[in-house]
Symmetry: C2
Subunit: 232 residues, 2 copies
């Protein structure tokens, strides 16, 4: 029964959890998840309908740019999880989105991979963006890339020039830079902008020229697709 | 009740269907899906536990390189689906993987989007590859792209040079070309190769230098990730 399970709970809508995610959450002895300093966990919130009497292990992750802070948190958390695994408990770590796609789970996995581990994929945020737009992310012969607002202008413009479909995640702080890159590569008209996808405060802007040239929230994204696409 | 629903059933394991996919399949009046000339549909096979008395609409898609053939099939199928929608029926189209990620659904969507439409995302094959490998697709600051074996050598080598993580889908026919590109960009040691992920005949090769230099099956993929990754 001892196993460490990374469970993707998807982007926000609890109905977008997989049957496998639900089974592993329900059968876990312990549910672990990151919390902010207010004690909130979006992943736990998504999974709440399937939480009954499992033991809970919240892991406080302070907001910090210093990677040493994260390092200590993951060291400490993996030590705690190891104790539970040694007691023959099944520990499920809940992650928003997909556990192997830009997710904190990967830092625990690298520390605990000598144990029996299982990874349950989840719907990722670019996929939920495409669904919110009801617009194909990629079609038959198109190329596709995912980058983040942290990349520099050269890299972003390069991706916008070479790739058909581009998702730019974590766009908030970098919004002004990204709008400039879209303009420089003549892709402003092909871009869509989304905030808080699938939540009550979801916001979609189909005409990104209307966006204010200032920073946006962390949970925001640009989706750029070709205006002219292969028709079959 | 009239609506056209694109339902992603995920990469193969029926447990990787979402709760939302199951609900829409169970509540549909009609289930549509592509079949090959033997009448087989992988998407229907994945969903079979949830098929009871829904009307079935198999759509024969011949294997053909001529895009006119596909064009006619989608025209014909969307006309049939329109008739059902006009009868106030709910039609769910089952797709392997995700309906908006390299999927045939997008060609029906473009023909039927004036109706009420819903899209239910599904786990895509790069995600199931990462789970099969138990290996992160992307970490914090990494860039990620998905290309196909149809791209030319210049583009593939360029992607391998500029991006941290690369998934090369539909690698079968192009296997020899891809191996050459991996060698030319010094990324042979960072590549993993997978066939038929999640099926009985799943095959994973962690050392792609062992692969025979000849074509592989259609359902095959290379996953390339950095050997040295950010540690947090």
């Amino acid at each position: 029964m001892n196993s460490f399970v990374g469970v993707g709970v998807g982007p926000g809508d609890p109905e977008l959890m997989t049957l496998k995610a639900v089974r592993h959450i329900q059968s876990a002895d312990v549910l672990a998840y990151l919390v902010n300093k207010e004690g909130h966990s979006q992943a736990k919130e998504i999974a709440k309908n399937f939480i009954e009497d499992q033991e809970l292990l919240p892991i406080l992750m302070p907001m910090a740019d210093d990677s040493k802070v994260g390092d200590q948190v993951y060291d400490q958390a993996s030590a705690q999880i190891q104790v539970l695994l040694d007691q023959d408990k099944k520990v499920a770590f809940l992650c928003e989105g997909d556990p192997l796609f830009y997710a904190s789970f990967t830092y625990l996995l690298s520390r605990l991979e000598h144990n029996s581990t299982i990874v349950v994929p989840g719907i990722s945020s670019p996929q939920s963006a495409a669904c919110a737009l009801q617009h194909p992310l990629t079609m038959l012969t198109e190329s596709y890339c995912v980058i983040t607002g942290r990349h520099d202008e050269t890299f972003i413009e390069h991706a916008l020039t070479k790739f058909d479909s581009i998702v730019i995640m974590k766009a908030g702080r970098a919004r002004v830079k990204i709008l400039t890159c879209l303009e420089n590569t003549q892709r402003l008209d092909e871009a869509k902008y989304l905030e808080y996808i699938g939540r009550d405060n979801e916001y979609i802007q189909w005409d990104v020229k209307q966006l204010e040239k200032k920073a946006g929230p962390y949970f925001s994204m640009f989706v750029v697709t070709k205006a002219t696409r292969p028709r079959v």
